[in-house]
Each structure stands twice: as structure tokens, then as C-alpha cells.
Amino acid sequence: MLQLIPMLLGITVMSFVIIQLSPGDFLAEIRLNPIVSQETVDRMRTNFGLDQPLHVQYLRWLTNIVRGDFGYSFAYQVPVLWLVRSRLFNTLLLNIIALIVAWAIGIPIGIHAATHQYSWSDNLLSLFSYVGISTPTFFSGLLLLFVAFKTGWLPIGGMTSLDYDLFPWYGKAFDVARHLVIPVMVLGVLAVAGLTRQMRANLLEVLRQDYVKTARAKGLAERVVVNKHAVRNAINPLITIFGFELGGLLSGSAILEVVIGWPGLGQLILDAVVRKDLYVVMGSLVIGGVTLVLGNLIADILLAYSDPRIRYD
């Protein structure tokens, strides 16, 4: 656990250094604006602490972060945390639903593929998962938008319809749900493809073990052997993936959000990167890094809890 502290510090240092490498700053743009006077620019520099030496800037930023203050967005003139919070729900909504869908589909498919190894359905599924893991989300997103446009079944892009505000609450929920279909499918396919492959490989490995032979030899039904004995052990390694996905809840959908116009964190960070909105970018990097670390920590704890063979010093 204590190892996490240097790691978290490292994350903040690196976020800071990368931003400092960037040529020009947010003020460079303002400076070019003839309406803004030199005094205003200077005042902004002092206000944001940009005139201080680097280590002072870093330490000031770090102490603020520890207090829960991620700084101020130049572009939006609001605190970073406020900005992040406004997008956080959308991103979490999308990713959590995609996660649930993916696990609900991926695990049974993986079990089926492993228990029917080399059958036509297994071959078909493995082809599907190869293509699934190889398709970048920005492309599959575009393809689905294209299909949605041609068929008119689903809304194209965004999170809500134009007349969203006029709907009663259930109409609103339904509207968002309709908008969720495409991004959830895109993220889901990617995750299902990965999960299926992993589950299939794990289960095949487990099914070769001696205790499975024993279970079969003592006359247990194949269903019991698979579900009670094999699957439980095969799922264990997937916990690592679960933790990884947990850590990616905030960042996993970033590109897709940009493509389909989902108002989430991904769009926010891209926008901030393009506009050189210093504190937003640094804040997103730190938040993204910390969630990933925490996700892995949770996975490690779950793994140790579920598998008595694993012990950490």
C-alpha cells in the first residue's frame, strides 16, 4: 500500500513535466488577441501563478490537489473539479453499462467456446473476437453511426435528443437509453471480444487439470463439472481484467466519446489539450492515472480474497 504513494507522486510529477514541455501556454493565445491589454495578460499570469519558478508552481499545484482543488480552467473560467464533475456522470454511465453488458455476455460465450472447442460456433466466435479486438473504437463507432443513419432506428450521436427537456422523466430515461445503444455496443464488442478469448483460454487450461478428471471420474454430470469446478477457477484470472476495466472507467471511452459526441470526460480532455487548458489537462491526467492505479489495487485485493494461493508480502 505504501508503494502507492511514490507512484501517485510520480503521476503528478509526470503530468506536470509533460505540460511544461508544451510550447506556448494558454496565455499565448490571449496575448495575440488585440483587444486584451498587456496589463490584463500580466495580471492573469500572476493570478494563475505562471510567473513563479517551476518547482514553486508544482508544489503549489500539488498541495492544492491534496486539498481537492485541481485548479482553474482558463477556457471555461470555472474550477477544474467542477468541470470534471459535470462530465463524470456521463462517462461513468456509459462505461458502467458497457462493463455490465460485456461481462454478462462475454463470460457465457467464453464458456461455450471452451466447452465446444473447434466446433463451428467456436471458430465463428473466435473469428468475431479477433475482429472485435482489432477494430478501433473510432472506426466501429463510425460504422454504427452509418448504420443508424441508414436505418433510422437509432439516434445519431450525442446523449440526448433536441427535445429532451420536454420529456417526462421516463421519456428522458428512454431517450438517453436509446442514445446509449451505439456507444455501449462499440465498447461492449471490444470488451466481449477480449473477455471471450481470455475466458476460453483459461477454461481450456483448467479443463486439462487433474481435478477436473477426478470430478468426471467420480461420475459428476458434465454441467456440474464445468460450472461448479472449472468455471470458478477459470474466472479468477479475469479479476485482473476486471480491475483494469475498473481503472479504465473514466478513460476507456475517450476516443469514442469524441466520435459520437458523447458529452463525457474524453471530449473534455481532447478539448483541453487542443486549447492548452493547462490545469484541466493536468487534472485529467492525474485523475485518470489515479483511477487506473486504484482499479488495479482493487483487483489485487479481490484476487487475494478469491484465490488463497495468492499472498502479498
Binding site: 507512484m7 479486438i133 463510425l142 452509418f146 481470455q198 479475469l238 483494469f244 481503472g247 478513460s251 484476487l303
Partner: protein
């Protein structure tokens, strides 16, 4: 922390689960023994197979891996002879045919006569808003092969004017349509393959030596050195790689030419990619250094660096080959994602990612869906690499060998 943090964004390559697999396989003794170990049941007089032959034999059975290999050979040859394959030069643009749909190849003309050679009609813009074109059926323009066109140097060496195919002016052969500047999408895909395909190779060429040496040193020395080195690597792994990619690409100066930008992107992708690879090597080396041959080398008084470079690292070769094959597609995906978002390779250079970004708005998506074709090339390449990588994994892992 265990080795749980993995590389994201790319979505592929060495996910955490696969790393775990690699870690478990590292417990298996690597093949270090003499190659001519006698095998029971072998016919007298037959030559024992070398590990390479065994691997090749196994790989040949993996049909998908072979398919992937063939596709990749085709694509890389395409990149090499791009100027020969492309009917038009990279910067060619037809100011009268924006968003032209893919050329319709005909065999039968307006008079009902059949032609041996496929031909196209010259087209004329009818409605710029709806992007509709009308074919002039009065004259057929046959597709000619080995036509003379724009001069270029084949393989950067042989000056020539011969292109694989083309049609006479004023007809155009836009095999995959044209984009918003009236440029041939097929031409730009073919030229774009040069950038998109080479990215993976260059990134791997940079990350592998760095990762091997870094991971080798950390794993070999262990203890405090290992601890410190791995903490540094883990900080890089701890970031969502797409965020890191995005932020680093914003650091790039905006004014440099596209060749410089291309190299800077390789630097970025490598500076993110080496860490995960180093950790993988480190885990493997930790297991490797327990073997007698390392002890023997030490007893002979060889220096640590020499042992690492000459004895330990060569034993990681099969792991390196597999990981390299699976890292290439993730680098390709990284470059396409960046270029797609306009932060990678920019106009006028073409890469599959930035070509695809032309299709990323609703009007183009609905009226000119052929602008999505570059995405198919990305997927095909990545699938092919994954096929090949998995085949290699099976072929190089002695436990997976059949018969």
C-alpha cells in the same frame, strides 16, 4: 502492486491477462540446451529438427497465422511500390469531382456491346449539394494496365513513368471514390500505408532494445535497483495510455513539416510503449537468472553487463518476437487514433487515420460512405498481426506443440 496495470487505449496487444499468461510461461525452462538432444523414437539417420524448424512446422499448421502473414506481405509490398500501384500522384486533385463515388467498372456499354476490358465512363457533376454525378455514356474509357503517367522512382531507385493501371483523360478511375478535395481515396490509402504500416515497425524497433536492456538490468540485479527502475516504469504504465498519447501529442510543435511530425509521433508512441515491455522482460529475466548457465557465466568471471547482453537476453527471444508482433498493431492503432483526431500525421501527408477523419461527420458519412474505407485497411492490418502473433505464440511455445 503486482503486475496488474496494463496498456490501454490500444485495446489489444499485451493486455493484463496475456501478460499474466506470459508470466506463467516464464516459469517454464526456456530452450537453452544443445540442439541435437537425442529424441526417443526417432528414425536412425534422420536429422533432428532445430527449434526454428519445429516452430516453422507448427506455424504452418496455424492457418490463420499464415493467412495473416500473407495479408501483411501484400500490404507491405503495397507500401513499397505505392507509387506504382497508385493511379494518381499523392497531391493530385480533380477540382471538378469532389466526393466522387467509387468508379463503376462496366463490361457492357450503352449500345449493349460487351467489352473484354472493363471500362469506365467520364462523369460530370450534376448536383454539388447532393454530390450526384452523371455518366456520359457516349464513350467508354477502357482500364489500361501499365500506363505511362506521373514520373517517379520505383523503390526509390529506378526512375520510371509506368503505373499499374489508369484510364485516359477526362475520365477518372477513382476505385474507392474521391474526397472533399477531389483526391483519389485509393491513391491516398496506398500512399498512407507507407506511414501507417511503418509506424508499427519503427516503434517496435525503438521500444524493444530499450525495453530489453531496461527490463534485463532490473530483473538481473533485482533488489533495490529493480525496485527503483520498476517504479519509474510503472508511473508511465499507470496513465491511461490514450490520455498520455493525447497530451504528449499536444506538446509537438504545430508548425513542423509532416515528416518531422511523423518521427515525433514515433518518439511519443515509443516513450509510452517501452515501459510495459520492460516489465514483461524483467519478469522473464527474474526467472531466467536462476538457471545454471547464468551461474556458470558468473563463475567464469564474466561481467554483469556481458552476462545480461550475451546470455540472459538472447534467451528471451521467443517472448520478444511474440510481443513485438502484438505491439506493432497497437502502435498502428495509436497512430491512427491520433491522426484521426488531427493530432498525429496531418495533411497533406496521408495516413489511414487521417484519411478516416474525412468520414467523421454526418454529411460525409451519409452521402460519401466510401470515406470509411481506410478504416477497413486499419482493421485488416491489425487482425492480420493478431493472427500472426497468436500463431507465433503457439509455434514458439514448446508446450503448445502438437505432434
Amino acid at each position: 502492486m503486482t503486475e496488474a496495470v496494463g496498456d490501454q487505449g490500444s485495446g489489444i496487444s499485451h493486455g493484463p491477462g496475456e501478460e499474466r499468461q506470459a508470466a506463467t510461461s516464464s516459469a517454464q525452462p526456456p530452450e537453452t540446451g544443445p540442439l541435437t538432444r537425442p529424441q526417443p523414437g526417432r528414425l536412425p539417420g534422420t536429422q533432428p529438427r532445430t527449434p526454428l524448424q519445429l516452430a516453422w512446422r507448427q506455424l504452418r499448421r496455424h492457418r490463420l497465422a499464415l493467412l495473416g502473414g500473407v495479408v501483411l506481405v501484400i500490404f507491405y509490398v503495397m507500401a513499397l511500390v505505392a507509387d506504382f500501384l497508385a493511379p494518381y500522384p499523392l497531391d493530385f486533385s480533380d477540382r471538378e469531382r469532389f466526393y466522387h463515388p467509387p468508379a463503376a467498372l462496366h463490361l457492357r456499354d450503352a449500345t449493349g456491346e460487351w467489352h473484354l476490358r472493363p471500362f469506365v465512363y467520364a462523369t460530370r457533376l450534376v448536383d454539388p449539394g447532393l454530390r450526384t454525378f452523371e455518366a456520359d455514356r457516349s464513350r467508354a474509357y477502357p482500364v489500361r494496365f501499365f500506363v505511362r503517367g506521373e514520373p517517379y522512382r520505383l523503390l526509390w531507385l529506378v526512375p520510371t513513368r509506368v503505373h499499374l493501371f489508369g484510364v485516359d483523360d477526362p475520365a477518372r478511375i477513382f476505385l474507392m471514390g474521391s474526397d472533399g478535395f477531389g483526391r483519389d481515396v485509393f491513391t491516398r490509402i496506398v500512399y498512407g500505408s507507407r506511414i501507417s504500416l511503418i509506424v508499427g515497425l519503427l516503434v517496435v524497433a525503438v521500444t524493444i532494445p530499450i525495453g530489453m536492456v531496461y527490463g534485463g538490468i532490473a530483473g538481473y540485479f533485482g533488489g533495490r535497483v529493480d525496485n527503483l527502475m520498476m517504479r519509474v516504469a510503472e508511473v508511465i504504465i499507470a496513465f491511461p495510455s490514450f490520455y498520455l498519447l493525447l497530451t504528449l501529442s499536444a506538446v509537438l510543435p504545430a508548425t513542423v513539416g509532416c515528416a518531422t511530425r511523423f518521427y515525433l509521433i514515433i518518439v511519443i508512441l515509443s516513450s509510452i510503449g517501452w515501459a510495459g515491455f520492460a516489465r514483461l522482460i524483467r519478469g522473464y529475466v527474474l526467472a531466467l537468472k536462476q538457471f545454471e548457465f547464468v551461474l556458470a557465466a558468473k563463475a567464469m568471471g564474466q561481467g554483469d553487463l556481458r552476462i545480461i547482453l550475451r546470455h540472459v537476453l538472447p534467451n528471451t527471444s521467443s517472448l520478444v518476437i511474440i510481443v513485438a508482433t502484438l505491439t506493432i498493431p497497437s502502435a498502428i492503432l495509436g497512430e491512427s487514433a491520433l491522426s484521426f483526431l488531427g493530432l498525429g500525421v496531418r495533411e497533406p501527408c496521408s495516413s489511414w487515420g487521417n484519411l478516416l477523419s474525412a468520414g467523421a461527420n454526418l454529411i460525409n458519412l451519409s452521402r460519401s460512405p466510401w470515406l470509411l474505407i481506410p478504416g477497413l485497411f486499419i482493421v485488416a492490418t491489425v487482425v492480420a498481426f493478431n493472427f500472426l502473433g497468436d500463431g507465433l505464440r503457439d509455434a514458439l511455445d514448446p508446450r503448445m506443440r502438437t505432434g
